[in-house]
Symmetry: C2
Subunit: 230 residues, 2 copies
């Protein structure tokens, strides 16, 4: 049985995706890792419309009844694959310069989503997550977590005196990466390395000008942005 | 018969969406306007998964056979609704100041996509377009057309001497609006008026610094952005 026929029905309380709480290294954790890997592989190959609990069960070696009981169904599997992805370590650049750190972050996004080897899985996962409320909630949590993790590059810049105190680091990261995701997932326009670099540069410039400080200066057209102390 | 069962099949050449070439004011143009309006209403109410040629036919008063013949099916209807939307006049601000013009543009995007009255149709149309190749192509053309239309605010700023010659106006518009669409259609994070304003300000700052000039200056961390002449 495919789950898709039930996708547009209202979710009943007992169908809410359940995120397992694995004991690290335990059997539950291994089952989850296998199921997440199988879900990622299936969604990359077949997309949301081709995703079935049968195929995830076959690929992971986990019984379909277990998938339904622990994940609630396809949307819970997609959501948990995102949750698991958010937990993956994500090494941040630390070059000592905000602009260079941001360039490396946008270069990483550019590489992941334009490399034919790397791009299918995250691209399919994001698209699949947009197809259900559970997926959309996991997607929001995933990006919010990433923004706050990566905010560290802005926080270090504040510590160095490169950015004003009170700068919203997550907002700096959003500013740097939004022009890339905008092309990739909204307009479908071409994305190149120069665009990725420029997005980082624009975000660094705005951050230095205090645009992302929590008590924003009100930049007037004829006010020159702050220049860094260095 | 619903068309959805055929959506994931390869498109045969005779199923390619055909964009009618209406004679303005003629019967063909009226038929197209009725069909586009019905498609927009249906997609806003029911989403892509609930969109049927029957319902568009019933709502528009145009025979289903005509819809298939002229639009090829659901995806052609969605694509043509976008094409028709791109042709709608879109009044641009002209305040004499780039930053203020950009603020009004991002405020307009913010208003349209967060107003419960206005947002359902464009939101559903964009989501529906992402579901097929024909829709994705129309979506890309739609945004590219909008970017180039709105580029006029940057071109005027170049004429006024507010921006460097050779500034890519469409890129300035992308920079200003991307942070909004990123939240609306990728991360699902909350969008507020302050974020919309700040996105405009950051784009204006980057444009003034020459980041969107065709022969980009290479901004160094310790180089102050250009200040406008005024």
């Amino acid at each position: 049985m495919r789950l898709e026929s039930t996708l547009n029905e209202p979710t009943r309380p007992d169908q809410q995706p359940r995120t397992p709480s694995p004991r690290p290294g335990g059997r539950s954790a291994r089952v989850r890792a296998d199921v997440v890997a199988a879900t990622l592989a299936e969604v990359a190959e077949k997309g949301y419309d081709g995703l079935t609990a049968e195929a995830v069960a076959a690929r992971s070696g986990v019984h379909k009844a277990t998938l339904y009981r622990r994940w609630g169904g396809i949307d819970g599997l997609v959501a948990d694959a995102l949750t698991a992805s958010a937990d993956q370590p994500w090494p941040l650049p630390d070059t000592g310069d905000l602009q260079e750190d941001l360039r490396r972050i946008t270069q990483e996004v550019f590489s992941v989503f334009t490399d034919p080897e790397q791009s299918p899985t995250p691209t399919a996962l994001i698209s699949a997550a947009q197809r259900s409320d559970a997926g959309a909630a996991a997607l929001r949590d995933f990006f919010t977590a990433r923004h706050h993790q990566a905010a560290e590059v802005a926080e270090r810049a504040v510590t160095r005196g490169e950015l004003p105190a009170g700068t919203d680091g997550a907002e700096v990261i959003r500013a740097a990466t939004a022009p890339l995701y905008y092309r990739l997932f909204v307009t479908g326009e071409a994305l190149d390395a120069r665009t990725a670099e420029r997005a980082a540069d624009a975000a660094a410039l705005a951050a230095r000008a205090g645009l992302f400080a929590s008590i924003p200066t009100d930049p007037e057209p004829d006010t020159a942005p702050n220049t860094p102390d260095q």
